[in-house]
């Protein structure tokens, strides 16, 4: 109570026009961050308080967020920012603990993905005391306000994390309704939360758990038969699925067949990559200028030239890559630096459009 009053008046003082004028042109945060990364007028930062390893290639980070964190609903995710090699990277991770954890901490569980820069980094380098940036919780993959219908939860691999938050929240709230979890893992060693799941489900007579080990003998991918004995009538259940695209597609197809798509909620963990990486030696793909809602077929020239050809007037200057006037946000796609031929990463980043050409589809915030 006193704490929140103090925090409220601190917020008001730091956010006041006077403090703003005194710290112009940088702003208050720029005077706080260098001394303690947790201090900020409005940015959410969290300090890692403890680290556990549910499996050999995953890590659970329990973190204490600063006073800007507004809480979350089980099933939601946060965008996590970490700095790797001096470069700020941002990825989404589901919160895996119950909505109202007893110690006020929040938890994410990160499985190291092949070629996953941030997930590998967090698995290797996360340390107690490390401070990371967070967004507020986001996402619609949440439980209904009041759970009445049976719940059918389906998880694949690290797709268990938002579902774990739901299970922990329901268990803590004493939910005793009918609930089933169908959980796909590669093998026994790959089963995140194995022990805790057995304990949770053992304590609830109406909860049923089935773990399918797809890479062990007798294992297979999702099929209708896997639901037998878990749910009486799928069309009457609230269905949640989270995991790889193939699993989500298969469950969606089944729901479409049964006509219960409206009761299906899904969370995709890997971006749906509709197009394979383009061949850097050919000119292909489409340019999407999202803010102005224009599209153009890539003709291989610089993105600036093509944006101008599409009737846009992005800011530009030297047109040779030295002044950075034309720097803008690329939200997806790979670009080639026209000076060095170097290819960019496919993620979101700032690029200089006067010296960048698209390699396949590219989306720009212009």
């Amino acid at each position: 109570m006193i704490d929140s009053m103090l925090s409220g008046s601190l917020n008001r003082a730091l956010g006041s026009r006077l403090v703003n004028a005194l710290t112009a042109p940088h702003g208050v945060d720029r005077f706080l961050e260098p001394f303690n990364p947790m201090w900020s007028v409005d940015k959410i930062r969290a300090r890692i308080e403890s680290i556990t390893r549910p499996t050999a290639d995953s890590v659970s980070l329990r973190m204490r967020p600063n006073r800007h964190w507004k809480g979350f609903l089980a099933g939601q995710y946060v965008r996590v920012q970490v700095e790797i090699g001096g470069v700020r990277r941002s990825r989404c991770y589901s919160l895996s603990d119950a909505q109202a954890a007893h110690d006020g901490l929040i938890e994410i569980t990160v499985k190291a993905q092949d070629e996953g820069l941030v997930s590998a980094y967090l698995n290797r380098n996360a340390r107690v005391g490390m401070v990371i940036g967070l967004s507020q919780a986001e996402g619609e993959f949440v439980l209904p306000q009041a759970v009445s219908a049976p719940l059918m939860l389906i998880a694949g691999g690290s797709g268990i994390t938002p579902i774990m938050a739901m299970l922990r929240t329901l268990a803590r709230g004493g939910h005793a309704g009918v609930l089933s979890l169908l959980y796909y893992v590669r093998n026994a060693a790959d089963t995140i939360f194995a022990d805790e799941l057995i304990e949770l489900f053992g304590a609830q007579p109406e909860w049923k758990l089935r773990v399918i080990r797809t890479r062990e003998s007798g294992g297979s991918r999702f099929g209708r038969a896997h639901l037998d004995g878990l749910v009486q009538d799928l069309a009457a259940a609230e269905i949640y699925v989270c995991g790889p695209a193939a699993l989500i597609d298969a469950v969606s197809a089944l729901c479409a067949e049964l006509g219960c798509e409206s009761r299906l909620r899904l969370e995709r963990f890997t971006a749906t990559s509709t197009s394979a990486p383009a061949d850097p030696d050919t000119i292909s793909g489409e340019l999407r200028f999202v803010r102005s809602e224009r599209y153009a077929a890539n003709d291989g020239r610089s993105l600036l030239d093509q944006a101008e050809a599409a009737g846009l007037r992005p800011e530009s200057g030297c047109r040779m890559g030295i002044c950075h006037s034309c720097t803008c946000r690329k939200t997806s796609g790979v670009v080639r630096d026209l000076r060095s031929g170097r290819l960019s990463s496919s993620g979101e980043e700032d690029i200089q459009i006067c010296v960048s050409a698209a390699v396949g589809d590219v989306t720009l915030d212009i």
Binding site: L22, F31, G85, C318, M320, L338, R339
Partner: protein, 387 residues
């Protein structure tokens, strides 16, 4: 924001990208002495050097700039804190020293370099060239145009690069002499003392407005942007912090003004040493036609001069003491210039190109001599004189 274009046609980037040869035709003897293929090879060597540094950017660079930012913020807090007790002479002197150093670091090693995009690769909004603004009268967005675009693209091209004389001074003998230039030394002193306002008004292009080459309608929004920024600076330095000191407001105000003045003289000195010591070349507009990347590198080299000094000196000059390296690679982090300077010098040597460097005393002495000499009408009738 409305911008007037000094050159009507945008330059074609492809003509400057490596791989396209062009004949070496230049009115500059240093450039004319090299063949087109030599110029291209020179450009390729510099490109390779740039790529090598880019590939190596990482934690070390991030840690460096954050350390400088932390030092600057600490100095600013200390300086402004001490100046609240400006009635005590040691506090006043210490406060002025800390605040002046803070402003110099903020403007040069942080602001100038961050706004060049030297740290854009970090993807940190606090160190992003587009968002950054600095503790001077000049609004960041205008600076990015007048400096990054006009000065760095068209370095030392007379009539285009407005850093040649700031529309006030005669800094090159090819600028026709006029009686007003008798005041060259006086004007230079005034510009140095008020340097932040000189820089701020750079993009308004007053001289061109007065000469009727630029309309008031184009200049007005730019001027409004300057006024908005100046007001905020004045509010902070000359009203709020002094008022917080209550009865000692006068000491605080004088301290803040002194810190601004010290910063102004210092940045003027460093910046004028970068392009105006003897033997630094200027260029005609004709130089820009069909300029290749190698050619552009050459112009940057010939139009810049370094200042020698110790590590602290380089930090306090924002590494603009490595003006040559900065002009060749304006978006490489400044603290890297010292590491590549010997290699740049070696490359220049192999192509028989000069590498202009000297002590601060030598370079600034040379600038002052030039300011004084060019105040007087040319002695030779061969040189242009305004009708």
């Amino acid at each position: 924001m409305a911008r007037s274009k000094s050159l009507s046609t945008p330059r074609n980037p492809s003509s400057k990208l490596p791989g396209k040869a062009a004949a070496s035709v230049s009115s500059n003897p240093m450039i004319a002495a090299l063949s087109a293929s030599q110029i291209e090879a020179f450009g390729r060597e510099l490109d390779a050097l740039r790529e090598r540094v880019l590939a190596d950017l990482g934690e070390r660079d991030a840690a460096y700039i954050r350390r400088i930012v932390k030092l600057q913020r600490s100095l600013e807090i200390a300086g402004r804190g001490l100046l609240q007790f400006g009635f005590l002479p040691p506090a006043w002197l210490g406060g002025v020293a800390a605040l002046a150093t803070s402003k110099i670091l903020d403007n040069m090693e942080i602001g100038h370099n961050v706004m060049h995009g030297q740290y854009d690769w970090m993807q940190d909004p606090a160190l992003n060239s587009k968002n950054f603004d600095w503790d001077t009268a000049c609004p960041g967005d205008q600076w990015r145009h007048s400096h990054n675009v006009m000065h760095h693209t068209y370095t030392n091209v007379l009539g285009v690069d407005r850093d040649v004389g700031y529309g006030l001074l005669r800094m090159d003998e090819k600028q026709p002499w006029r009686p007003q230039y008798l005041a060259n030394p006086l004007m230079a002193f005034g510009l140095a003392a008020l340097f932040q306002y000189g820089v701020a008004l750079h993009d308004v292009e007053f001289d061109r407005v007065i000469a009727g080459k630029r309309s008031w309608r184009d200049a007005k929004p730019v001027l409004q942007g300057v006024w908005k920024k100046v007001r905020r600076q004045w509010l902070k330095d000359y009203a709020l912090f002094p008022l917080l000191a209550g009865p000692f407001a006068g000491f605080t105000l004088a301290g803040n003004a002194s810190a601004n003045l010290i910063r102004n003289f210092w940045s003027f000195t460093i910046i004028f040493c970068g392009h105006f010591p003897a033997d630094v070349q200027t260029f005609d507009k004709s130089e820009l036609a069909n300029e290749t990347r190698g050619h552009w590198y050459l112009r940057q080299l010939l139009g810049s001069a370094n200042i020698e000094g110790g590590k602290l000196f380089h930090v306090m000059s924002g590494n603009l003491s490595f003006q040559i390296e900065h002009h060749l690679f304006p978006d490489l982090p400044g603290h890297r210039y010292a590491e590549i300077a010997s290699e740049v010098r070696e490359i220049c040597g192999r192509y028989g190109l000069p590498y202009n460097t000297g002590s601060l005393a030598r370079q600034f002495g040379s600038v002052l001599r030039r300011i004084a000499e060019l105040a007087l009408p040319p002695r030779s009738a061969m040189l242009p004189v305004a009708a």
